[in-house]
């Protein structure tokens, strides 16, 4: 999975910025903005996808609108014997966990979780706490977002119907 070192020039960065702003912008339009032809833009995009710089194109949605009304960050404290590897396997089994990472500080890992409601969140949390090597969890439930169009405010695990 390790890829060759990628060097992006200024044109590449402008193309990426344009696609982050609107992933459906046509290559011709991007090209017009930076002084390149549409096929030239496409070649650069293909190269960056190949290199793994661009990993995909997605729609951002309001999770609320899809029924994900509860969001939380959960600090996880593990038994000292448990390797991060083990945690990674567990975490993948929960569609409600939309991000998980190891962190500095007292906790071993931080989970970003979306659930349909508090009841759903409680069920997920209970399942997580029942995992053998997890010692304790500390939850911070999100009350409100302070940035409207943060990229990750639109992150959602799919549709509730798919995962419940």
């Amino acid at each position: 999975m390790t890829r060759p070192p990628v060097t992006l020039d200024d044109l590449d960065r402008k193309i990426v910025a344009a696609l982050i702003a609107n992933a459906r912008t046509s290559f011709a339009e991007i090209g017009a903005a930076i002084g390149l032809s549409a096929p030239a833009v496409k070649r650069r995009v293909d190269r960056m996808r190949e290199a793994g710089v661009i990993t995909g194109f997605t729609a951002t949605v309001l999770p609320n609108a899809l029924g994900w009304r509860t969001e939380a960050y959960v600090e996880v404290y593990c038994d000292s014997a448990a390797p991060p590897r083990r945690l990674a396997e567990v975490v993948r089994d929960y569609p409600e966990i939309i991000a998980a990472m190891t962190v500095t500080g007292g906790a071993d890992a931080l989970l970003h979780i979306r659930a349909t409601d508090i009841e759903h969140f409680e069920r997920v949390l209970e399942r997580i706490r029942a995992e053998p090597f997890i010692r304790k969890t500390v939850s911070q439930i999100v009350l409100s977002h302070l940035i409207a169009n943060s990229p990750e405010a639109g992150a959602s695990p799919g549709t509730p119907a798919d995962t419940q």
Copy 2:
């Protein structure tokens, strides 16, 4: 900014799922998959954008590849007099803050921050700590992600060149 209540039917949810999976999927292809014509799909997408269910289409990139090599979550403790409103204004001035929310628990808010490196992060943190109503901060620096293709693993504040 308050919008009319939106009701999504099953077709709408399938369209959204398809666009989350790949925002550049053609309407014709989505239509073929769910038994609708391309114009019918387009009108539903337009309606959902209008209603604010779909907020945009973006490219997901590896922040590392763009030079964002340091990521952290920072708990913020405020003076009890400071309203969340005030915090929202401040937070918008930092391009490095890619998400900010009020949370339950001891902290008043949680910030999700990306910086180019530790030095950059330290500068950002010092500026934040210098804000008048902030009493203390607790940082958790992200060591490694446990989920490969988490939607928000690709969230990045732009290009370092734009913001530094």
